[in-house]
Amino acid sequence: MTTPLLVILAFIIVSTVVGVIGRGRGAMNLERWSVGGRQFGVILVWLLMAGEIYTTFTFLGASGWAYSRGAPSFYILAYGTIGYIISFFLLPPLWRMAKRLGLHTQPDFFLARYNSPALAGLVALIGVVSIIPYLQLQLAGLGLIVHTASGGAIASEVAIIVAFALTCVFVYTSGLQGIAWVAIIKDITMVVVVVIIGIGLPSMYFGSVGQMLSELVRQHPSHLTFPGGTTTMGVGWVISTILLTGVGFYCWPHMFASAFSAKDERTIKRNAVIMPLYQLPILLVLFVGFTALLVMPGLKNPDTALLALVMRSYPAWFAGLVGGAGAVTAMVPASMLLLVASTLTAKNIYRPLRGGVVSEEQLMRASRGFMLLIAVVALILALWSPNELVKLLIFGYDGIAQFFPGIVLGVFVRQITARPVILGLVAGEAVVVSLIWSGHDPFLGMNAGFVGLVVNALLTLLSATGGQVLNHRNIQGSRRGTTTPLNFGGEHGEPRERHRVDGWRAG
């Protein structure tokens, strides 16, 4: 076994032990396992959120794209900012509704607001399906780390299966409470490592970041402007991708629900103010990718660029530390995503299908069963349908960003009903799936997910206003401005009759 591999293993073992200790004593039930007993302090909640923002995607995917694509990878720096700006306005009223109606999950919101079990089920299903490529990304990243750290001795297929086993053990033993503690270790190591290598590597080979960049411009003059090293990712693709992923940022089931656990509105807004600074480490990761392109051109898999350069440039123990940080950076989000996806499946798909009569214990068992099932699907995809890490995340965004019209209109426009939202959602997803499958992504220079979102939003608004006009032709109620997409006035889009959302206790 190589030294880096040993350090990585030690890192993983320590993290798992912290996870097991962190989960505390006492019997495990679904409430504790999946929402940490709902007793998280604000700091812990936001650490968890940051834990989901920094994933293998940031670490390996961003550097891989900086290496192979160049300027199109700048979208990764920008989209979070758009997401935080939207959250500043969207999350406070959402948080108020969640508190008043006792919401736990994203489909709970759709059920309570639109009074439509069909819409809630559809949202749960799309959420779970979109999480799978995100999970696949984490497994593939973890596999790459193990593969590269072993100096190629461990085949990447074997490494992915090892990654899968590690993640399953981790999530089974720790649950959310344990994961939260590991997330703290992970974030600190991650930021320290990124600062060291992001400034250290360009300086080591070129003297400074600025000199590295001018050398890059000299050798690859078109790498740092759109479309960079690609032919299809021009300005239109970048703009549409920033908008799609920025809008989709808080549409992820886990990000959406994380807002529910905040202490108060002020905390949410204050966080939105400082969060854009969270994007800065990504810049350093991009620098590592650029340095790798100059120092080690022609890598077979660009996603290994960061690790390969680190292993070449630093002592073995430090390379192991970077690999270990990377491994935990994959395991924490993978566990979170698995927990969210399995909880959604059990609570918002399985239970309604069983007519709602399911005991808490059955729900817990079902949840663990679905967890394994979803993990296996992600494993199979990682083994047989490998893809670039960044591409996988964009696939996920294509799916979940389609929730945006339903969320925004649901929060701000009282008059909107389930039918237009379902129509827009289905049409949007259909456009996305058919464009990607027929090989038309990007479409007319734009991200296919964005095209779907435009179709989705237009259809939702048109059918909503069309329905309103037909229904209220002679009623003066239409003066309330049903066509105004952002009606901030008065009470927010609260449902008049409220569909009661059961808590975690079934029955």
């Binding site: 700006i85 411009v217 703009i239």
Partner: protein, 73 residues
């Protein structure tokens, strides 16, 4: 309430709109800003100043809400 929201929207949306709408015009390397090619500097610059704009939005939200309402939030 409506006024409060609209006022805060102005500073909050400025960096988002500027960053994205500017992209077609800043897709070039020159001038170099602090060692960064212009395109990267443009994106990074707006990310860096966004907290200031959102902070202003936060203050606008708070001052108008303190002045005009006590709707029991």
């Amino acid at each position: 309430m409506p006024i409060r929201f609209r006022l805060a929207l102005v500073p909050a949306l400025t960096p988002a709109v500027a960053l994205v709408a500017g992209l077609p015009f800043v897709n070039r390397l020159e001038p170099i800003v602090f060692g960064l090619p212009f395109l990267l500097a443009w994106i990074l610059g707006w990310v860096l100043v966004t907290p200031a704009f959102l902070g202003l939005a936060y203050l606008l939200d708070r001052s108008t809400s303190a002045a005009e309402d006590g709707d029991g939030r």
